[in-house]
Amino acid sequence: MRRSAFLLTGLALGLSLAAPAEAQQRTRLTVYTALENEQLAPFKQAAEAAVPGIEIAWVRDSTGVITARLIAERQNPRADIVWGLSVFSLLQMEALDMLEPYTPAGAQALRPNMRSDRNPMTWTGMDAFVSAVCFNTVVAQQRNLPRPSTWADLLDPRFRGQVVMPNPNSSGTGFLTLAGWIGAMGEQNAWQYMTRLHDNIQVYTHSGSAPCNNAARGEYAVGLSFDMRSVALRNQGAPIEIIIPTDGVGFDLEATAIMRGTRNLDAARRLADFAVSRPAMELYGRYYALLALPGVEPTVRGYPAEFAQRLVNADFREIAGQRERILREWASRFDGKSAPR
């Protein structure tokens, strides 16, 4: 019995080793990403068409899981390149010396605040996503809630128990929202704002997409999340409106970086070149409203014309440096402090 178990183990090993060994001429790049699921197929298709000789093998997960995986695998990286991950994660990895320095062809043309300030660069931006409010219009009507257009509007006592946001200690989206408030209001005022908002918040969720999903299901009227999240939900028929508050929103970049230690450096560089090219930017523009390459018109709809002006000025490196202190402060003020209502 035991012997057959060992035989089976051996067989299993053999089978699983044989699978990746299928002959391929193209270089297979393992690409770690936090892109949305529906973006994977078009991105892969476009990249493989534009860069001959590569094949993209995605490993996709939420920002937190992918970042934790990358850092845990640091001693022996499995990813060749990261394409579509929060710049905060990449800066964390830069500090751990995990990124391969390389300035992709044409990267100098990117907006200065949307590319690495090192030479050669360690990462290049793709597009910006912003914190946003998912507002359920049906629930709002039932409860007679006004449509909020600024962050300050959410302090209205009528929203008591109707607001959900991600816990910044669990979710990158939560931190993005928090960093946006600090950027827009100054730190002192931001803490005051959060203390007052805390009274209206029903739940701090662990996942960054849960607030918008919950708002879409009508569990709550207001979910603080990011802009991309709502599109899929609205397409399915959720009665939600996406609101980008006019009093300043935080933003995060999706970015590209080559992993130090990749065994396919050449192919990874060619993909990094593609990731900053105009055709790639046009692709990003189908989903995002602000692109790293100036002069490319995004084709995504539903964004206000003066959208870019609502973004707060952000020095990513400085925010990343303060992240730990800010999160600790947040935890001591709000985390688990309130018993569930």
Binding site: A5, R69, Q236
Partner: protein, 583 residues
Amino acid sequence: MSDAVLGERLPQPRPPRGAPAGPPVRIAASLDQRLMQAGLWLALAFLAISLALPMGMLLARAFQDAQGGFVGLANFATYVTTPSLVRSVWNSVWTAAVTTILVVPLAFAYAYALARSCIPFKGIFRAVMLVPILAPSLLPALALIYLFGNQGMLRWMLFGENIYGPWGIVAAQVFYCFPAAAIILSVALSTADARLYEAAEALKAGRFRIFLTVTLPGAVYGLVSAGVVVFTLVVTDFGIPKVIGGQFQVLATDVYKQVVGLQDFNMGAVVGMVLLLPAIAAFALQRWAEGRRAGTLTGRATPYIPRPRRARDLPLLVLCITVAALLLGIVGVAAWGSLIRFWPWNLSLTLDNYEFSRFDASGWGAFLTSIEMSLLTATIGAAIVFVVAYLLERAPQATRGARLLRGAVGFLATAPLAIPGLVLGLAFILFFNHPANPAGIIYGTLAILVLNSLVHFYTVGHLTAATAIRQLDPEFEAVGSSLKVPAWTTFGRVTVPICLPAILDIWVYLFVNAMTTVSAVIFLYGPDTKPASVAVVHMDEAGQASAAAAMACTILAATAAVKILHVAMGGAVDRLTQAWRRR
């Protein structure tokens, strides 16, 4: 292969053929004993590589800073001075205790009805009790939201209370832990010596007295095991608190926060270590229960056959129907959820949600990956788990070294229960991805998912096997060895057939858990090996709840099919191997 290894450990001089009658018997027994000893060493090596070393590497992080320098107990100091972290310990303990107090008696009554009464439809009840673990935990969580959420159909039942919070956690955990407790208890109650009951009746003991003095003592080990398992499952599970717990902090969500939110593996390791405390407590408790056990099924035992008695059977039947209806109802709501367009705004029915490639690049491929992975996990796992449990129960303990070895293997077999999947997944990355580890070739392949699931779900299988083996009198082996039958023959001809139902239970348990697991494999799957359970999480995160429910229902269909097959086969197996239990 293993025989060759074992062969080297065997004593060289064999007794000559014509040796006097006395000594050869002893030497034959000692050959068995050496074999068993060697088997235990192999088990230790296996558990060391797949559990102890990875966990050791991760837990070492608790004493390091982010750069890997040694910082002693500094991280622990930070931990105990952070009030929100310490509060989680209490939250975890009390929700787990409440869940245990609710689940164990309920599961005991249910298992008692199956084993010791004459209610009809036992096969169906036996299958239905597993329903909660047949689907990913997202399914009951979604069902609870559909039923009791703010737009829920039965929201009025909460009288204005909110499902998100500790009571939501307890409700979902009771549902989720019921099968584990019921499995262990039904094994514990399935064997009894009728002579004890006859004696008790002859002594004119009342029914209640018989229950207290015969039935309960026979099931103490099972009760303790079930309690320990439920308590630890609740403490380590993070899926339910994450979805339904709101901001109610527990230890398992703290690990998630530290690892996934903050990428602080050091603090994650500290919380992971705190989480191991229940395991150590559980181990101690189990040792204590072990000291009080006795083989309930001796070689002279006559099997206990329940006789119909309305006063007992009717209430038990009502109980079983109620429990089964609740379990099926929750799953039924989720299955309906997979067929609607968008909860709660558009409830028209559709099959589109089952076209998975619309939602996830891996489409139906993820489902096939899961099937392959689960078949391997269950088959390899059931064999290893049962053999190791047998060795633990029957290997000689004459020397101090032997007892230490047995203690070590026993601890490693119980420990996985206390390890949250998240922690185990990270530990696997650190260990198997290490550049110096030759076992690293399995990294990123299906093999590492199989190994991980096997270890992750080791304990319940182990306890089931141990409970079953424990009920066999060692006399069987003694008789075997006095007839000069080698131990492995007794094992193959007596132990395995008698325990076949338990082995099949273990196989099914491993299969369904490998089909539904998320927390560990989410760190380990590669570009071609994304399992369906992970796809469920991804689709739910993308707001495609109906598609997530559809994939979860597909998983449920596979696991339910296996379970139905198991029940059908169970009848045949029973006729073949358990006929002796009947008179």
